[in-house]
C-alpha cells in the first residue's frame, strides 16, 4: 500500500487553486498580495508564474469595487476567486456582496448566476486584536443566495475549495489562520467535496458535537481525553455553514440525544444559536438535556496577550462541558495542557502577521 500523502492546509489550498486554474481557463485569482512574495501565506504560490498576470493579479485597495468587478467577470462566465488577508477588510464590500452577488440570480429572474468565490482569512493570536480577527460568518449565513464554507482540515480545504470555485453561486470560503499549517492526508488528484454536506469526523454515541473550522480540531483533541474517560462523542464538522446540512445532525442527535455546538465567533446571535434553535424545534422530544453552546465571549477581541488568555475556547472547555452534560465528575487537572502559549498555534506562527 502506498504511503498516504500528508501535506499542509496552505499547500492544499494552493493545489486546489492550481488544479482549478489548470482545468478551466475561466478561473481567475485576485486580491491584495496574491502575487507578492508572501503569496497569501503561500496559498497562491506559483499561480502567477503558471497562469500569467492576466489571470492572477494584485489590485488596488478597493474591496468594495473589486467585489463588483468579480460579479461583472462572473456574469461573463468567469470563475473569480477573490482573496482577503483578513475577514475584517471585507466589511467594506457588504453592499456588493449582499445587494449584488447574493441577489443577482434571483432579482433578475434566474437568468445570470454569480459563481464568485471569496476567500476570507480569519486572524487569531499574536495580538491580532479587535479589527484583525473577526469571523462574521453568521452574517453571510443569514443572507439567502450566499453559500458559506468553513473547512477544518487540509483534506477538506482542497475538495471544498474546488467545489466552491465551480459552484454556480457566490461562495464565501473562510480559512482560519491557525489551520494553514495543519496537515492531513490529501490526495494528489482533483476531488470535490460536496457543499452543504457535513462530515462525521468521529462516530460516537453519548453526545453530538457540531463544530466548524478550527473548533473541529479542538473537538478532536477533546475526544481523545473523553475516549479514555469512556465518553463517546460524535463530532460533526459542518464544512458548509449555509445552506446547512441538517439531516446529518438530525440523525446524530436522534441517536445521542444530546447536542453541543461549537463556533469560532462570539456566541450572541451567532450560528450556534441557529443550530440549537433548529434542533430544538424539530427534535424536541429526542433531547434528553438542554443543548449547549461553546463559542467566543461576547466581546471584541482585545489585543493584549494577557486579555486573550481565556478568549478562545479550547479542548479544555469542551471537556468540562461534556463531563457536565454527561453528569460526570471531572478532575480538571487531568486535562492535558497545550504545549504552546495560548496566542500561537505552534512554533511556525510567530511575529506580527
Amino acid at each position: 500500500m502506498p504511503k498516504l500523502r500528508i501535506i499542509k492546509f496552505h499547500e492544499s489550498i494552493n493545489e486546489a487553486m492550481t488544479i482549478a486554474m489548470k482545468s478551466n481557463r475561466k478561473v481567475l485569482c485576485f486580491g491584495l498580495g496574491v502575487d507578492d512574495p508572501k503569496r497569501i501565506f503561500n496559498t497562491t504560490k506559483n499561480l502567477k508564474e503558471k497562469f500569467g498576470a492576466n489571470r492572477v493579479f494584485d489590485t488596488p485597495t478597493s474591496e468594495n469595487a473589486m467585489t463588483g468587478v468579480g460579479i461583472g467577470l462572473s456574469l461573463q462566465g468567469y470563475l473569480p476567486v477573490m482573496v482577503h488577508q483578513r475577514f475584517d477588510f471585507f466589511l467594506l464590500a457588504m453592499d456588493q456582496l449582499v445587494n449584488g452577488a447574493a441577489k443577482w440570480f434571483y432579482m433578475f429572474g434566474g437568468q445570470k448566476n454569480v459563481p464568485i468565490t471569496i476567500r476570507l482569512i480569519v486572524g487569531r493570536g499574536w495580538g491580532q486584536g479587535p479589527t484583525h480577527s473577526q469571523s462574521l460568518h453568521s452574517w453571510f449565513a443569514h443572507i439567502p443566495g450566499l453559500k458559506v464554507v468553513m473547512p477544518s482540515s487540509a483534506h477538506d480545504a482542497k475538495g471544498l475549495l474546488l467545489s466552491s470555485i465551480f459552484d454556480k453561486n457566490p461562495v464565501i470560503f473562510i480559512e482560519h489562520r491557525w489551520l494553514h499549517n495543519t496537515t492531513s492526508f490529501v490526495p494528489k488528484e482533483k476531488y470535490f467535496i460536496p457543499l452543504s454536506k457535513s462530515n462525521i469526523v468521529k462516530k460516537g454515541s453519548d453526545i453530538t458535537i457540531v463544530a466548524n473550522s478550527y473548533m473541529t480540531l479542538e473537538a478532536i483533541k477533546a475526544s481523545e481525553f473523553l475516549e479514555i474517560n469512556k465518553i463517546s462523542i460524535e463530532i460533526i464538522d459542518l464544512r458548509t455553514i449555509s445552506p446547512i446540512d441538517y439531516s446529518t445532525i438530525y440523525k446524530s442527535v436522534k441517536k445521542t440525544k444530546k447536542l453541543l455546538v461549537l463556533d469560532i465567533s462570539n456566541e450572541k446571535f451567532g450560528i450556534a444559536a441557529e443550530i440549537v434553535s433548529n434542533i430544538t424545534i424539530n427534535l424536541f422530544k429526542y433531547l434528553k438535556i438542554p443543548p449547549a453552546i461553546i463559542a467566543s465571549p461576547n466581546a471584541p477581541t482585545p489585543t493584549s496577550f494577557a486579555l486573550t488568555k481565556n478568549f478562545y475556547p479550547t479542548h479544555k472547555e469542551i471537556i468540562i462541558k461534556i463531563f457536565e452534560m454527561n453528569n460526570r465528575k471531572l478532575n480538571k487537572n487531568n486535562i492535558p495542557k497545550n504545549k504552546n502559549l495560548h496566542d500561537v498555534p505552534g512554533e511556525w506562527f510567530k511575529g506580527p502577521f
Binding site: N54, T59, P60, S62, N64, A65, M66, T67, G68, V69, G70, I71, G72, L73, S74, L75, Q76, G77, Y78, D95, Q96, N99, G100, W104, F105, Y106, M107, F108, G109, G110, Q111, K112, N113, P115, P144, G145, K147, K168, N169, P243
Partner: protein, 309 residues
C-alpha cells in the same frame, strides 16, 4: 428618443391605475443621452445602469413589452417580475442589469470591461450613473481600477443636478466640473450638452474611437435635467426644492423638440414623417402595455425559485 419619451409618458399616465406597483424612476427630459450613446453601441457591447434605467434599456434595444411587463410584475417581465422597474435585464441585447443602490452597478460594469479585455477587447462596457453616484466611494474605486487595468469601459455620467430633492450644494463644491475632477485621476474625459442628441452622439463616437484605439477607458459627462419627480409619475415643482423658472428653462431645451427642429430646419426629414413616426411609436407602446396587462402573474410559490443556481 421619441420611443423612450412616449413609453415614459405612458407609464406616467397609467401609474395611477395602481397596477405598476413598484418604485419607478422616469427619465423624461434626459432621453437624448441614452439615445445618443446607444447609437454608438454594438449589440456585443454591454450596458449596466441604475434605478433610472428605462432609457438605457430601451436605447440598447431592450425588449419593450418585457420591460413594461416587468413593471407590472408579470412572468413575461424581463426579470420575470422579481426585479421591477429598478432591476431590468435583457441578455439578448447585452443589457446586463440595472440596480437600485447608488453606485452598485458601476464596478460590475468595470468587471464586464475586464472580461472583455481578457477576451482581447472584444466589446465595450458602457456604465451609466447619475452625478449623485460620483459622491460614493465606489465611484472612484471603479474608475481607478478601470484606468490602472486599461479597460474598455465607457463611463457615462448623467448630470441632472439633483439627487432626489437635493441640489448640488450640500453634495459637491460649487465650481466642480465632474469631468475635470475625473480627468485628473488619469482618464480621458469629454463633456457635452446632454439635451442635444447630436452632441451626445458625436461625443460618444469620439469616446469609443478613443477606447478602441488606446485600449483605455473614457469618462463622459452630460448635463441634463429630469422633468418629473425623482420617483413616481408626477411633476413636483410645487414642493419647493427647485424653481418653476429653472424647470421652464430646461423644458425649453427639450431634447426632442431640439432635435425635431434641427431635422426639420435642415430639411433632413419633414414634419409629416415625424408625425408618422409618433403614430407608429404610440402603437408600439400601446401594444407593449397590452402585452404586459395580459401577461400572467407569477405564482406565489415561485418566491422560492432561483435563490440558488
Amino acid at each position: 428618443m421619441i420611443l423612450i419619451r412616449e413609453v415614459e409618458e405612458s407609464i406616467a399616465l397609467k401609474y395611477s391605475e395602481n397596477k405598476m406597483r413598484c418604485p419607478t424612476h422616469l427619465c423624461i427630459g434626459q432621453e437624448a443621452i441614452s439615445s445618443g450613446v446607444s447609437l454608438n453601441l454594438r449589440p456585443i457591447d454591454t450596458v449596466v445602469s441604475t434605478h433610472r434605467s428605462h432609457g438605457h434599456y430601451l436605447g440598447k434595444g431592450g425588449n419593450l413589452g418585457k420591460m413594461i411587463a416587468e413593471i407590472y410584475g408579470k412572468t413575461d417581465g424581463c426579470s420575470k417580475g422579481y426585479g421591477g422597474s429598478m432591476h431590468l435585464i435583457d441578455l439578448d441585447v447585452n443589457f446586463m442589469g440595472s440596480t437600485a443602490i447608488v453606485g452598485n452597478s458601476m464596478p460590475v460594469g468595470v468587471g464586464l470591461a475586464l472580461s472583455s479585455k481578457l477576451e482581447n477587447y472584444k466589446s465595450i462596457s458602457c456604465i451609466y450613473f447619475g452625478e449623485g453616484c460620483t459622491e460614493e466611494g465606489i465611484f472612484s474605486e471603479s474608475i481607478n481600477f478601470a484606468i490602472v487595468s486599461n479597460l474598455p469601459a465607457l463611463f457615462v455620467c448623467e448630470n441632472n443636478f439633483y439627487s432626489v430633492y437635493s441640489d448640488l450644494k450640500p453634495r459637491q463644491p460649487k465650481n466642480r466640473k465632474i469631468h475635470k475632477m475625473v480627468s485628473a485621476m488619469g482618464i480621458k474625459t469629454f463633456y457635452a450638452d446632454g439635451n442635444k442628441v447630436l452632441d451626445v452622439y458625436k461625443t460618444t463616437n469620439k469616446a469609443i474611437k478613443y477606447i478602441k484605439k488606446y485600449k483605455k477607458p473614457v469618462f463622459l459627462e452630460f448635463a441634463t435635467y429630469r422633468w418629473r419627480e425623482h420617483c413616481g409619475p408626477n411633476y413636483d415643482n410645487s414642493i419647493g426644492y427647485r424653481t418653476e423658472k429653472e424647470f421652464a428653462k430646461w423644458k425649453n431645451k427639450d431634447p426632442i423638440n431640439e432635435f425635431k427642429n434641427y431635422l426639420v430646419k435642415n430639411k433632413i426629414i419633414n414634419a409629416n414623417l415625424i408625425d408618422k413616426f409618433y403614430l407608429s411609436t404610440n402603437r408600439k407602446v400601446a401594444r407593449a402595455f397590452k402585452f404586459a396587462e395580459k401577461s400572467n402573474f407569477p405564482s406565489e410559490k415561485d418566491l422560492f425559485k432561483n435563490i440558488y443556481a
